[in-house]
């Protein structure tokens, strides 16, 4: 354990850059140990980057960073110290697995730290009792409220008794009651483990008052450090928020006074928005429960509540994005209707997540929306000009929207939302994550819109000081509107000091006894005996370390997730079976039912005899006779016939005279493969005629031959393509489906953010990859058995060879194909890219170069190389061998070896390319 006077983290001149954005700019800082240290600052100032670096989740670029005495640039030291750090990333439940229950989530983290079943059970029990989550152990994390998610995240972080707890904005978007409980919980834990250092960031300045030591950051630099009291006295401010604003480098920042809001004057006329018993259910979950309110024209109406309480859903129903399950909503006296384009023109909307096009510049975004709202070109230019000045966007006109700081982006969003001068604005948490200064500027714009232009504003927020600026607010919790009134009246009626207290009072009232049990639970923690800490040695991890327990923890978790997405499984299983049936029957290389027609210019019995050799054949379907050379050309051209036989005039006479008449056969040569087959058929038909002629003249045609060639069609005497197609298509399906499923899986974790758990827990790359791979191999094996049964029973292709060998081959093959998926997945950042790359790169070699259409040995150049270096080639060979050739283990050894050789190659490449840290 650290001695209190030694810093828990020593940061020296650390900088961090993403592409061309500088997130951290030469930060030097010593973070004292054993204290609750708060890092303050708006979004995008580098807080999260700094935390990621300290947690070891991000790769250190420049500078020196020592955490708990370990140099974080060294992989070995990082691995050594990793288990003593716990990291909870920003975002509600960001590192939780939404499909898994509370108990399963906690169990998973316990397994990663090598805890045995008994220990895990004891720890889970104690933590969930302390946090009041115990009654909900079986509930999926995705269905928890924001506050509960954060508590669960905290439990997951605390499961291994860390010495340093890093919490990145743990209370953003959480209702005030849960927020208060969360801090009480942290206090209780610190009381129990006084040696533990806590590093926390927050956007709520009032929370910062309670921290031991503060770091104020802006623009990737540290502005100031010290205790809250020190900071306040240094800036001569009454509260931290003011202190922070005064610390900002811009001199103008401090100069601005408080916002002034002219009083709201009630207008005549019908209300702008009326909601009447609005209800929305998702399955058995009621997101919005009988919500009713009225909003007057020109009013600023605040919608207050935590994340997930139904604010966004209500707004979506008002805009017509979501149909209501029950109740009704009226905008300007007309029912909210998704198809009512006229009403939509009168409304501006700004959604919670940034909803502009990041890949467009500021000017392009504005122009696009002006066009979409059909502003006259001159009017549009004028309006854009006006807005750009008013919103201070002038100098950023050519910057990409995604490159703007959050505050600027929100201003751009608002500009876009009002470009068509709407009468009503619906804004869903527009200021979330924006720094206090930018928030005030944003509000200035809103107030001007409301008071000067009479725009009705319906805004949701979780900032109490913003709520105070609204004319009226409604408090929403768990899908219900608890109360709505002016902020002042709410405070007065609840007889409390501020809005937050009033809100907490209402929530407690709504929850009844539940709230009480949670606070009681805190005592559990204090009484609990100290647990023996897990063996440190066991947690040391290198790149190639492999502990089956940890890998299995990943497998189990992945399996649970897949099983809870039955649609994916159904697509995989039913999809492959349907495809097998359609394609095995459909791809028939038995060329028959070819259309042919004759141009018989002779019309004698002899010419009709000749043609009978074709019309009687099972390969040909006769079409109406051709009458002229022109017609022959035209019908070949139109694809009406693929073969035309031209019999010259005088054919019969010349034949009788032995004058050697010539027959012409015209074949549609567009499809070369088919043309070659037809050539063979034509030659066969012609020869039959010749033998008949010879026989008629008393000669035995057979006697004229000098040798007999006896073809033996081995393995497939009836020469039906299904015997080759069935097994070949199985080979294709067992590559493509598992590879795509696998490719999405790692990319998905990267996109959602759960990959952080791999970064910060003592999990080796091999454990992570193999752990994720195993369930997909298992799914593939089930699929293999299903397809094999289908081939044998539905396609009637008997399995003549060794089933055991085929199974072994399938196992190796699936390990290779999922390995390919893993490789693609480690290379790509998003699911889209993973799908694109996995599909485009694998379809060609799998379908074309693996021997289904042409044996690999007959290919040339790049195709040959790709075919040789692709696992499908060997499994297809093995599968056809086992099914149709009736081969056993000994004969198939070369294929098995080739398949096995792919596994380490793909896996090694994936391990080498997978990063254990974020760049």
């Amino acid at each position: 354990m650290q001695t209190p006077d030694q810093p828990v983290a020593r940061i020296e001149n650390v900088s961090h850059t993403y592409k061309d954005v500088r997130a951290l700019d030469g930060v030097s800082l010593d973070i004292p140990a054993g204290r609750m240290v708060g890092v303050l600052g708006p979004d995008g100032v580098g807080k999260s980057t700094l935390f990621g670096l300290i947690a070891g989740a991000r790769k250190l670029q420049t500078g020196h960073l020592e955490v708990l005495g370990a140099d974080m640039a060294s992989a070995r030291e990082r691995m050594r110290v990793g288990p003593r750090i716990a990291y909870m990333p920003q975002g509600l439940g960001k590192n939780l697995y939404q499909e898994l229950s509370i108990a399963e989530n906690l169990d998973f983290f316990g397994k990663l730290f090598g805890q045995n079943t008994a220990e895990r059970k004891a720890r889970v029990d104690r933590l969930t009792k302390a946090t009041g989550l115990n009654p909900f152990l079986g509930r999926p994390a995705g269905k928890l409220s924001g506050g509960m998610k954060q508590k669960l995240g905290l439990c997951c972080a605390l499961i291994h008794d860390p010495d340093l707890l890093i919490l990145d904005e743990p209370t953003t978007g959480v209702d005030p009651l849960s927020r208060r409980q969360f801090w009480e919980l942290i206090a209780a834990i610190r009381a129990e483990r006084p040696g533990m250092s806590v590093l926390v960031s927050t956007a709520y300045m009032d929370e910062a008052e309670a921290f031991d030591w503060l770091v104020a950051m802006d623009g990737g630099r540290v502005l100031a450090t010290g205790t809250p009291a020190e900071l306040k006295s240094r800036t001569k401010s009454k509260d931290i928020e003011t202190a922070f604003v005064r610390l900002m480098p811009d001199a103008t920042a401090g100069g601005k006074g408080r916002l002034r809001i002219p009083p709201f004057k009630e207008r005549d006329g019908e209300p702008a928005i009326v909601a009447n018993g609005l209800t929305r259910r998702f399955g058995d979950f009621t997101a919005v429960d009988e919500v009713s309110f009225e909003i007057q024209r020109g009013e600023i109406f605040g919608f207050l509540g935590s994340n997930g309480c139904g604010k966004t859903t209500t707004m979506k129903m008002l805009t017509g994005l979501l149909p209501a399950s029950a109740g009704e909503a009226f905008l300007f006296g007309k029912p909210a209707d998704a198809n009512d384009l006229e009403t939509r023109k009168r409304v501006g909307f700004m959604s919670q997540s940034f909803s502009l096009y990041g890949e467009l510049t500021v000017a392009q975004n504005l122009k696009l929306h002006a066009r979409l709202f059909h502003l006259e070109p001159e009017r549009a230019d004028q309006r854009i000009d006006e807005l750009v000045d008013r919103f201070g966007l002038r100098q950023d006109m050519d910057a990409l929207a995604e490159a703007l700081p959050l505050g600027m982006r929100q201003r751009l969003s608002l500009a876009v939302a009002i470009i068509h001068e709407p009468e009503m604005l619906i804004l869903d948490e527009p200021t979330s994550g924006v720094d206090p200064l930018a928030r005030d500027e944003f509000w200035e714009l809103l107030i001007a819109l409301s008071r000067e232009e009479g725009v009705t504003i319906f805004i949701s927020t979780h900032f109490m000081n913003e709520a105070m600026r609204c004319d009226r607010i409604s408090l929403m919790h768990a899908g219900k509107v608890l109360v709505y009134d002016t902020p002042k009246d709410l405070i007065r009626k609840s007889k409390v000091a501020n809005l937050e207290e009033a809100f907490i009072g209402y929530i407690e009232g709504a929850m009844g006894d539940d709230a009480q049990t949670e606070t009681d639970a805190l005592t559990v923690l204090r009484d609990a005996p100290d647990q023996p800490s897990t063996d440190q040695e066991q947690m040391e991890v290198g790149r190639w370390t492999f502990r089956p327990g940890r890998a299995l923890a990943f497998s189990y978790r992945e399996m649970m997730e897949v099983l809870r997405d039955p649609v994916r499984l159904a697509f995989a299983f039913v999809g492959t079976m349907v495809l097998l049936l359609i394609m095995a029957f459909g791809i028939s290389q038995d060329v028959d039912d070819l259309t042919f027609a004759a141009l018989d210019l002779d019309q004698t019995p002899a010419s009709r005899d000749y043609l009978r050799n074709y019309s009687g054949s099972r390969y040909f379907i006769e079409k109406p006779e051709i009458r002229s050379k022109d017609e022959l050309e035209r019908r070949l051209k139109s694809g009406d016939v693929t073969l035309a036989i031209e019999i010259p005039p005088g054919f019969g006479r010349n034949l009788a005279r032995s004058a050697n008449p010539q027959i012409s056969a015209w074949i549609d040569g567009a499809n070369t493969m088919r043309a070659a087959t037809i050539e063979g058929y034509v030659a066969g038909g012609h020869n039959r005629f010749l033998s008949d002629v010879a026989r008629a003249t008393g000669l035995d045609a057979e006697a004229g031959r000098h040798a007999v060639i006896e073809p033996r069609y081995r393995y497939n005497p009836s020469f039906e393509s299904i015997y080759a197609m069935g097994p070949s298509i199985q080979a294709m399906l067992l590559l493509l489906f598992p590879a795509i499923l696998m490719a999405v899986s790692v990319a998905r974790e990267k996109e959602i953010g759960t990959i952080t758990n791999f970064y910060v827990t003592p999990t080796s790359r091999l454990e992570f990859l193999l752990g994720k791979q195993m369930p997909y191999i298992a799914i593939g094996m089930v699929n293999f058995v299903m397809l094999t049964l289908l081939i044998v029973f539905a396609l009637q292709v008997p399995l003549k060879g060794s089933f055991m060998t085929l199974t072994l081959g399938a196992f190796l093959y699936l390990a290779a194909s999922t390995g390919y998926g893993l490789l693609i997945s480690t290379l790509t950042k998003s699911q889209v890219a993973a799908v694109f790359a996995a599909a485009i790169l694998s379809l060609l070699p799998t379908i074309q170069f693996s021997g289904m259409i042409q044996p690999v040995s007959t290919l040339e150049g790049g195709a040959r190389i790709m075919g040789t270096l692709w696992p499908t080639t060997y499994y297809m060979h093995l599968s056809v061998g086992a099914f149709t050739k009736g081969l056993g283990f000994r004969e198939l050894i070369p294929d098995l070896i080739a398949l096995a050789a792919f596994i380490p190659v793909f896996t090694a490449a994936a391990v080498a390319l997978l990063r254990k840290q974020e760049p």
Partner: protein, 374 residues
């Protein structure tokens, strides 16, 4: 008028998105160049490089002559193996064909005893096996006859047969493969690009933003169709001129303008399928699986790998629903047969009709799919 202006402006945004995505552009370039050339050049002539072995129990001048009749590029240089090796070698797929020449073969031919040559064919390599077997039989018969008569004089058959291949007189396989692989890439990339554009927009939440503006689902869907279709169309034109006609020397018999117009119709249909899949799939993973389910039959059952008329009756109605099948017929007719509008219009009507069906279906599902996704 407003509708079309909206569609136009939304589409320009799509175009910007595509060109900002470097990986996407790289994959499109790869698909329309390298993967077409490799496939066309890689899969050689109808019978190409076929592996063949001889079991020569005769060791005569004639048997050596027979062996020498097989040479590249159609066949590999024949190898001589022992009789005991035949089964094992064929099991291992070392040879597609094994010719067994019996003892005393040459002597028997001289004495007119009609000795038997055995031709073993690996019938699991269906395509090569059937065409190759015919070639081999013809070559062997010619050589033996020639030897027996000891002259180059052809016996005159009572009726002569002249086989002419229309549209591709030399039977150059690469022509056909080039067109087929072009169509495969066209289908794959159009569906992928359009579907992914929709899903990505939904995942980023920007689709909701569009839906609260005075825009209809039709406008949103249509803008994706034209913009992504245009990207692929440009790739198609470049690839057709530079790669297919340029590098691979495929002559285009018919009107290029007609080919282009037909392709535009097909791109609409393929993009409509992309949008349709995008509205059904909830997640990218589901979209990927759906894509496989639709693209594999499109690639394999549209007539590029096996002729449509050879498909069994049960499968044909399914493949009729694939716009790619009709487009394949259309493209072949234009490129090889030089067909004109009078001939191909039914195909175009079918493609457009199927496209309209998929497009209408996706519009019906559009809003619903957004609202369920929360």
């Amino acid at each position: 008028m407003r509708t079309w202006s909206n569609i136009f402006w939304l589409g320009t945004k799509e175009l910007r998105s595509v060109f900002r995505d470097v990986i996407m552009v790289a994959l499109i370039v790869w698909s329309f160049s390298f993967s077409i050339t490799e496939r066309s050049r890689g899969i050689g002539e109808t019978v190409n490089n076929a592996s063949i072995a001889f079991v020569d129990e005769d060791h005569s001048a004639l048997s050596a002559k027979l062996r020498n009749a097989f040479y590249p590029p159609f066949f590999k240089v024949p190898e001589v193996i022992k009789p005991s090796e035949v089964d094992h070698a064929m099991d291992q797929s070392r040879y597609i064909f094994v010719v067994v020449i019996p003892p005393n073969f040459e002597a028997d031919v001289r004495r007119n005893r009609q000795p038997t040559i055995q031709l073993n064919i690996d019938a699991t390599a269906v395509n090569q096996a059937s065409i190759g077997a015919q070639y081999i039989q013809n070559i062997l018969t010619d050589e033996v006859n020639h030897f027996a008569r000891r002259s180059d004089i052809e016996t005159v058959e009572p009726v002569g047969l002249v086989i002419r291949r229309a549209f591709n007189p030399n039977g150059t396989q690469a022509w056909f493969t080039a067109i087929v692989s072009m169509l495969d890439q066209l289908s794959l990339l159009t569906i992928l690009l359009t579907g992914a554009a929709l899903i990505r927009e939904r995942e980023h939440g920007t689709i909701e933003h569009l839906l609260v503006m005075p825009l209809t689902s039709f406008q949103i869907a249509m803008s994706k169709v034209w913009a992504n279709g245009l990207v692929i169309l440009v790739a198609f034109v470049l690839s057709m001129n530079l790669v297919v006609a340029g590098m691979l020397d495929v002559p285009i018999a018919g009107s290029r303008l007609l080919l282009l117009s037909g392709t535009v119709i097909y791109l609409f249909a393929a993009a409509a399928i992309g949008i349709f899949l995008g509205t059904i799939a909830r997640t990218m993973a589901q979209f990927a699986l759906l894509l496989l389910m639709i693209i594999m039959p499109m690639m394999m059952l549209s007539g590029g790998i096996s002729p449509i008329e050879s498909q069994p009756e049960i499968v044909q109605p399914f493949t009729w629903l694939l716009p790619s099948r009709h487009y394949m017929a259309f493209a072949q007719a234009i490129v090889f047969r030089g067909a004109d509008l009078e001939i191909v219009w039914p195909d175009l009507v079918r493609i457009a009709g199927l496209g309209a069906v998929f497009f209408t279906l996706s519009l019906m599902l559009f809003r619903r799919s957004i609202s369920v996704s929360r």
